[in-house]
């Protein structure tokens, strides 16, 4: 029997929209004082159902592609999987270390040197100083930045910064890897070099969840697909089935 590594059970997430009014304490107090009459409109908060009754289960080796149009809540689902949003209803269970890769520039401080940024990023990913020390030569080599790693990142060109962040983000052993699509949207020249690294990085992960519009990427990396539409699951199954259904949607 295979054990599910990452599972969602009837998960729903909704966002209250705190539009100016309902965020202010004044409105709250006024509505209390007036038995809810004066500020009634702002107290009737708008709630967006971002995810509705999503269930899925992933086992070791699964590669899941989240497909859907803009606003289909792909990123929200990724954040639920990463434990950032705890669902309003339903449960998320996970066995293993989650490695979210949403914003590879997170924690990059332009005033710190390249080396210090690598250390900072490593700490954010939960690595110990010792592990970071061991990984450092490999990262430094991949970036090809050489002595530039000793000067503040502020002085780097954007291409150099991208190389640094990318190298750091892909330096560790991912277990459950959650990726947002735009990670793949680097400049073409660099991506050629990065492709091999990210391919092997993704393959090392025991579970991959990737949110994307790019169906070619899905076919290359993923074995399963999940089509989200307006926060609801439209299809869940093997990648070819889901892509087929997704492409037929307009017909």
């Amino acid at each position: 029997m295979t054990q599910s590594i990452l599972a969602l059970d009837h998960v729903s997430v909704s966002f209250p929209v705190y539009q100016g009014g309902s965020r202010s304490l004044k409105k709250r107090l006024l509505s209390r004082g007036s038995a809810g009459r004066i500020a009634r409109d702002s107290n009737d908060r708008i709630i967006i159902d971002a995810l509705h009754d999503v269930s899925l289960s992933l086992e070791s080796g699964d590669r899941l592609a989240l497909i859907g149009e803009n606003g289909a809540s792909k990123t929200t689902l990724l954040r639920v999987l990463a434990g950032i949003y705890e669902p309003v209803r339903g449960t998320v269970s996970c066995h293993g270390r989650i490695s979210p890769m949403f914003d590879i520039g997170l924690g990059i401080d332009p005033d710190l040197s390249g080396y210090d940024n690598i250390r900072m990023r490593g700490l954010l990913l939960g690595l110990s100083s010792q592990e970071i020390g061991e990984l450092m030569p490999g990262i430094a080599e991949f970036t090809e930045l050489g002595d530039y790693l000793d000067v503040p990142v502020r002085t780097y060109s954007s291409g150099m910064t991208l190389r640094l962040t990318f190298a750091v983000a892909t330096c560790f052993e991912p277990e459950i890897l959650l990726m947002d699509e735009w990670i793949l949207a680097g400049d073409a020249h660099f991506m050629d070099k990065a492709r091999a690294r990210i391919d092997s990085f993704v393959r090392r992960a025991s579970v991959l969840v990737l949110a994307t519009h790019n169906l070619d990427v899905c076919r290359r990396w993923c074995t399963k697909g999940l089509w989200l539409q307006q926060g609801q699951v439209r299809a869940f199954g093997t990648i070819s089935d889901v892509i087929e259904k997704y492409q037929d949607r307009a017909l």
Binding site: L25, D44, I46, I47, M120, L124, G231
Partner: protein, 287 residues
């Protein structure tokens, strides 16, 4: 009551009464405790982040973080000379009193006024990676402690200049300071949460802190209140300041100070614990 919007968003957006979220309380309690334990254990991370917060502010300036010391020193000196004259007190009595009071007040007031941005300011982290929320609290209190340490140099200067001999009582300053840090951490936790939800709370606190400064004996001695000095018993900030100020000036804080601190800590703990257990999971939705 559910009103459906017309148009494209009809399926997604509904106007409705706020629905109460019910979860198993016990599970939330466990998660909250785990959050604090995991957060404190990540001391390397918050240590570096907190230190970085200080460096960032003073990077490429000649004095660096010593600007903290310099500006505080000038303030103590200027206020001390002027107010000793206004209040007709001896300089060697008033100056140490004012210096220590201002040092302690600066950490208390900066914790209170900046706690509002504790979670709001860390939005980019909170939305990208799951870290225990207590990491942000530890980082915040750590950077405040570093600032205090820089300011503390002024006290040493005052001790030498006025040839103070605080004696053994000075040992009581350390537990007092730890109590201040503990209360600061608890307060900033719930103030940070409430501020993330209600954005006018930071403004509210900023104006209250201003008033409290003048109501608390820092620029003036409590004896000046005369027969009304008993009023200070009800000012929690008086006890918070006194618990460290008295030992640094060579007196052991009174039993009343310690009892008050115990009550304040208990109230802060209960408030922080209840809010954190109940609303911890909502922080990422609020920021």
């Amino acid at each position: 009551m559910t009103v459906l919007l017309k148009g494209k968003l009809a399926n997604k957006v509904r106007l409705q009464r706020p629905n109460v979220v019910r979860r198993q309380g016990e599970r939330q309690l466990r998660l909250a405790v785990a959050d604090v334990a995991d957060g404190v254990a990540l001391w390397r991370l918050w240590g570096r982040l907190g230190w970085n917060d200080i460096l960032q502010r003073y990077r490429r300036s000649l004095l660096g973080p010593l600007w903290l010391t310099a500006s505080m020193g000038i303030m103590v000196l200027a206020l001390g000379v002027v107010y000793a004259r206004i209040l007709k007190m001896a300089l060697d009595d008033f100056m140490p009193f004012l210096c220590v009071g201002l040092l302690i007040w600066s950490i208390i007031s900066s914790v209170l006024t900046e706690a509002g941005t504790l979670f709001i300011g860390a939005e980019s982290y909170i939305k990208q990676i799951r870290l225990p929320y207590s990491v942000y609290v530890c980082r915040f209190m750590w950077s405040k402690t570093i600032i205090f340490a820089h300011n503390f140099v002024i006290y040493l200067g005052i001790v030498i200049y006025f040839k103070l001999q605080p004696g053994g009582a000075v040992l009581c300053a350390m537990p007092g300071f730890i109590l201040i840090l503990l209360n600061g951490a608890l307060t900033s936790l719930y103030v940070g949460m409430v501020s993330a939800r209600f954005r006018d709370v930071p403004q509210l606190i900023a104006s209250i802190v201003q008033i409290v400064f003048f109501m608390t004996p820092i620029m003036w001695k409590p004896e000046l209140l005369g027969s009304k000095s008993v009023l200070m018993t009800f000012n929690p900030f008086y006890h918070l300041v006194e618990i460290v100020r008295a030992p640094l000036l060579g007196q052991v804080p009174s039993a009343e100070n310690y009892i008050a601190l115990g009550l304040i800590s208990m109230a802060n703990f209960l408030l922080a614990a209840v809010l954190f257990v109940r609303f911890r999971a909502r922080i990422s939705y609020w920021v």
